[in-house]
Symmetry: D2
């Protein structure tokens, strides 16, 4: 079982000690242990400072997605919690090694100002509370990452943007898909016109939401457009890089008790300046469907599970043959990553390195303008123009 000279040289990159050891073993017995495959392994990045984030609101999204995601973050860490449930907060803090003194309640929210470890807050509250808690955080000098939709009205959103500007702090809206590899590739295909001019964007984001749920409460800012439809709106905007100029809509009001306050479903169509038409549906009352398809002149692509947290899969068809039928379907292998970790890292890096962010308040405001137009179109039965 002698190891040859050639083999020795081949392994040289593993580390001299490894191969000397192996050679020694081959010659006379037990070897000193090497580190396996060290040559091409990526060493973990040691970051000098991570952005300290206070989590505001300990609902399902915070507990099941955001807090676990910090384990995969390089540049951000949870350092404080804001919650109205002290027992729950204590338990969560224990699990994430957040000190008990870094637990705040809503009344004492401004005390975050005194915690130097808190650079920023992540607002994961009902939509109706986004504006207030964003502005209060900005006023005490914290950066803000706010869940979408950023507010319940255009006016609120404008106040939030003003507050960020006035306080010289960053306000980012948590459009996680703008940080996700499959959607980033989709944006690239569209912007570079890799499949030719864009023609039609089709989207659906539907789920079956059991009552009680804040998504079903108008007072708390819920509704299918607000909760799931916003993905279709934002998606069509970042794929085209444009703001729609006209919308039509039909909504379905259900007699089910859970839909007393909000429509069950809304289907809407947006016209963009370049001529692209995007039609979409959103619902809180059907089985899940989250599909996005983009048709262009020379091809098309679709994303399966387009708006979910994981399992997104792109399939690209390049037009050929008669009628634009594809010659082949290509399924690019795109790395699956934790959306929340990448989003948090993008937020942290922008702040730590003082760079602009991809999804500022203006992005959230644009969607609210579209939502308002869609609601008006559904109410009046008339196409609504957007300035």
């Amino acid at each position: 079982m002698a190891i040859s000279r050639r083999s020795f040289l081949q392994h040289a990159a593993i580390g001299t000690s490894t191969l000397l050891a192996a050679r020694a073993q081959a010659q006379r017995g037990p070897i000193a242990p090497p580190d396996q495959q060290s040559a091409d392994a990526k060493l973990p990045e040691v970051v000098s400072r991570k952005l300290g984030v206070a989590i505001v609101g300990l609902g399902k999204l915070a507990l099941e997605e955001v807090l676990p995601a910090f384990g995969e973050c390089k540049y951000a860490q949870p350092v404080a919690l804001v919650s109205g449930h002290p027992d729950k907060a204590k338990r969560v803090a224990a699990a994430y090694k957040i000190p008990a003194e870094a637990i705040y309640d809503y009344a004492g929210y401004e005390k975050l100002a005194n915690n130097a470890k808190v650079d920023a807050v992540y607002i994961i509250l009902p939509n109706s509370m986004h504006a207030e808690y964003t502005v209060r955080a900005l006023k005490v000098g914290k950066h803000v990452l706010c869940e979408k939709p950023m507010a319940t009205s255009v006016a609120e959103a404008e106040q939030m943007i003003s507050a960020a500007s006035a306080n010289k702090r960053t306000l980012m809206i948590a459009y996680r898909l703008q940080y996700e590899p499959t959607h980033l590739r989709a944006i690239e295909i569209c912007r570079k016109q890799e499949l030719g001019a864009l023609k039609i964007i089709r989207a659906t984001n539907c789920q079956d939401t059991k009552a009680p749920n804040i998504r079903l409460s108008k007072a708390l800012g819920g509704g299918p457009l607000q909760d799931v439809g916003v993905y279709c709106i934002n998606g069509a905007r970042y794929l085209t890089g444009e703001m729609p100029i006209e919308v039509t809509a039909i909504e379905h009001r259900s007699s089910e008790p859970r839909f007393a306050e909000v429509p069950e479903s809304v289907a809407f169509t947006m016209r963009f300046p370049s001529g692209v038409i995007s039609h979409a549906s959103c619902s809180l009352g059907s089985a899940e469907s989250r599909h996005l398809e983009v048709l262009a002149r020379e091809g098309a692509f679709e994303i399966e599970n387009a708006f979910t947290y994981r399992g997104l899969k792109m399939r690209v068809r390049r037009a050929g043959k008669p009628n634009g039928r594809p010659n082949e379907i290509v399924e690019p292998k795109i790395e699956e990553r934790n959306h929340f970790a990448d989003e948090l890292d993008a937020f942290a890096q922008a702040i730590l390195s003082n760079k602009p962010i991809r999804t500022p308040g203006a992005d959230g405001l644009a969607d609210l303008r579209v939502i308002a137009a869609i609601e008006q179109a559904a109410r009046t039965g008339r196409a609504v123009k957007l300035g």
Copy 2:
């Protein structure tokens, strides 16, 4: 290599002669040959009389799909051709063993009356000529299978239906997907509410049509709604079993020369009495996309290549887990069949056995009413109600 008594009995069903032969061979040499596997093979059906069909118009659809499909028909056969191109007609007649005297031109169309072998005509002309040639055939006593859309206006369609009634002849519209196994299964899922109440129907039928093409000519009855959108309309109607009560639409008028007469794309939304919303797009200017998805309360299904001649594939998701997310995705194995052969056989069987047809003129008329409403909605920017 002796064949045992047990093996002999096992094979008994193959036919005594086969096994006796095999046994004989085992005993003394060369065997008399049996017919392989005759036990479970399906014998071809010998039909006493097939419906004789005259093909009216020898365009691409007639030549590449319809005429070859007769090879798989049990109950129908091509017996005459109507064409304005004598040379082409002769060549086609030769290939399908249709006698030269059964070739007609359009001026001599009524001479079909004298050909007793012609029971019916199949109108595969530009849409603008459907009405005239349907009525003329009915008047000389022939049954009619007419391509969709059945006409270019509601008024024409009403005339065609009247003519069929007055002449006591069958008028069927060639909605081939209502005879196709995947769509038949889709209809069954919807009608039996196997996935619960229907909620949303999404469809797209788009292709890239090169000029010159009759689909791009308004005078010839072309346009994206007429040519491809009609599948989305008819589909939503047979899946719900309802007529829409309201539509909205946005169309895209292109500056490309090929779209001088018809819109490039139309996106439209239909509201049905049961509350179902169907949104769809059709285009003659994008890469091909032909997708249908039906969302219901307890599940969803989609059909890939939904409106093509072959390659349809259904995938069913039954809701489970939170938000109606599926526990599994089921791909039923549905037999792939020749759509045109099955449609022609259904037409023939209905006539030969004097039974009602599934897609009468009224079905085509309903779609024309919806098309007219969509065009009005696109023109006016207002939702249009359908009585």
Copy 3:
């Protein structure tokens, strides 16, 4: 609704009469009908003479696949039947418009010599009868297409090849996949080394065969290697373009009565001169599985439903990333065609134009040599070399 001059010119290719008609209609009323889309439609090919084929054996394959396939053949037609069941033969003849006098029984097989319309026979009998009926047909001057495996022994196969040569007639083995577009593309990928040097070929061809069935009879030439395994052998041979030089095998003998004469399953491995290893399994006792995968240095491809009559689907992975992981998966859109029609047309064209055939008797003989070696390896537990 006037048709413009520009539109007129755009449509010029449709045929002047069409557009003149359309223009006329636009100007003054009813139009003379054109032929739709004639510009780019493929006219059917009118063939001066088709090869006349006698079908020998009216089992399931003949009735359900081969005879219907003639409807899609351009160069071959069924002109006679050979069967031991007169009633069945009459019915089949009626369905395919074969005259009653062209029905033969096995005793009168040589009378085919007197039927000038019969150029060739297609042997679809139990494997044990292939040799006899092939030789008898060749002796009376008919060309032969013989189902695979071509015989039950190497000796028989050699006699068949000699008889073809002595009688100067064509003997083709019905390896339909060598005429099928997906496998033809697979061969091209392998021969051109589009994915680099071939490394490993994996195949399985299994089904659950209910008794009684000739496949389960040793006397009739059945068995898993003979019936389904031969596809894996032939496949590895046409993909590599080589003959294997060594085989190992393990077979499973079942206690189920249906497997009294033949093994239930055989797994075997073949080594090829270029270093390619192919491992495969075949069974008559498991649920269906028909999968082929080819691993090469720079990529891999697989074919789903690889050995079935329809539904074949290729997926290609091109190596990238660490460890040869693919960057994307490509699903080429390959036309689905009737395997039997293409095979019959290839047979007919070769004879009618006096050209060499792709799958001569030698191809079938090579597989029988491999089968014999696999059986020996399974019996002895030793690797068997092939000269």
Copy 4:
């Protein structure tokens, strides 16, 4: 925007404070913030004590998979590192907040005995060092999780098992797939015979390993069987629940310099007592392929990406129709989890709660016996029986 009494009650489960707040807002202005969706969110589990693990060897697997996986572990945490590269170790320690004093080198390995925080070691060294470092850890009272293959010979494996027994410590082999949901479901299908009796198992685990790499060094315990083939062996064993009784094999020795010490590929077939045949291939010289298919009497299933760290997908076919052809294909939605985290947690839970482990040393030993038999079969060209 008044919130109704009914809506109030619907939301009661969200937490009284939330709804009171919402109601208050509706009545008079700004609201006190609630915690979103707290009702059904899963609180993180706070564990009293986590198992402390020392990572032995800082190669690619340790750095890129194992250490990051601890972030998703509930019951295990990294508390020490053993490495021959002090700089690398320091950097890794910093990234995972492991104190500098908990870094050990190989000479000082036994000092782990004095670190009370270290309950166990995870051996991620070249295969040739597994035995030595396992035994040394056991002797100083640490539990051991050892990568597969557990050793380079049956004798070594027996020594390791003896040492665990003598020192009353747990020895677990890191067969991560036995803790992975898709494979657990596969085991369940097989053991409960949900698809009937098992018949054939097909597997492949191939990759393209660039030199230099310890997988290509015989002295370090590499080779295709050892590195990737072991998954196919272990898999067939846990799916059947049996030990194979006979194997055949063919290996390919390449002239490429990287394969100077180990075969490039090995294809092998295993016969199991129940009659199941498993055939498999493994390679270090082809594009990646990692596919597993199990054929049973009443159905079959396959796992795509079967042996990778992520992206596993099961498809189940239940037999119907003739020949065991499926009526439908079912793609169960199985949660994707971090294999390494679940494996580490299983290891930790077994030790912390003093319960038996699923993959003890005996499991690793069994695979080494099979590997030895396969190597003998490949060398001799003869089937090798296993006692």
